[in-house]
Symmetry: C2
Subunit: 176 residues, 2 copies
């Protein structure tokens, strides 16, 4: 198809719809992430799980899944894969036969150290598209979009710097 | 899990990563879309395909797929479903046995008219989270993120209002 033909296609309201442009942008960013992390065979979801386990060793599966807004069934699959690859492990919580605490293995910890510069370079490429100020604006606006899904507490319009899991959407509500 | 426990979970760099917050926001917006369009059983991808066919009757499958950055295999599945439900139809292009032009059926056109207020209400809920000015900023920044995946022409930093398919990522590059 020629450029000319393509430019003539009318997308109607789509390019102004928040959901449409969000999805287009998300796919572009994930594509860069996939390319950068391909040598390590790590997906964005796997990276986020490893990050939370690395930062919070000993959390339960339920806690990690909830913090990331990942459905329980999806999370179990993710974790099985990470355990099979000996990057993370479940350890039984003493006194609770049905609860498992999550830890990185030494291999998992070593991988996360190796991934740090890869992540930094990926993020730098994304920030280069909008500039530092644009990134700050974008991240703040995206948190406003994601957090407004939260209905348990009133919005306060505060800045997002330093925000942690409390700003994430309600567990399970964001996953479809 | 208690709120207190959740607030103590350290997400590390995730809440500042463009890809992570994009994905969280996108899931929240799509969740609202799914709920709103559930009575019509229309997904965001189906809606975008119907929109492009409605606005540009007679385009080929390749053109519609390319304009939306949808992979050919995924697009064929989408279109089969729309055709099965008698919302859109393929018509053979005269003189080219392998090319099909796409049209809405009368049912498809009627559905799109019914969906207009549903879309408007969905978008109003999203805009309410960031305000009109916030929406304009957000959409412009998201186009900058999505378009920087485009490497065929230099970026010009121009405003996005009125932009059409020429601002979309390279066909196939955004889909994983």
């Amino acid at each position: 198809m020629s450029e000319r033909t393509k430019a003539e296609i009318d997308l109607g309201p789509l390019p102004e719809l928040i959901g449409y442009v969000l999805r287009r942008a998300q796919l572009v960013v994930f594509q860069d992430f996939f390319s950068a992390f391909a040598p390590f065979d790590i997906s964005p979801a796997q990276f986020s799980v490893l990050t939370v386990i690395e930062r919070n060793p000993g959390l339960t599966q339920t806690q990690v899944a909830a913090a990331l807004g990942i459905k329980r069934t999806n999370f179990v699959g993710l974790l099985n894969e990470l355990e099979k690859r000996a990057l993370a492990e479940r350890r039984q919580v003493s006194g609770d036969k049905r609860s498992y605490a999550l830890y990185l293995t030494p291999d998992g910890a070593a991988l996360m150290r190796k991934l740090r510069p890869v992540l930094k370079a990926h993020e730098a490429r994304m920030v280069a598209k909008v500039g530092e100020a644009g990134r700050d604006q974008l991240v703040a606006l995206l948190h406003d979009i994601a957090d407004a899904g939260e209905t348990r507490e009133p919005r306060n319009g505060a800045g997002i710097r330093g925000a942690k899991a409390s700003r994430a959407p309600r567990p399970g509500s964001a996953e479809t």
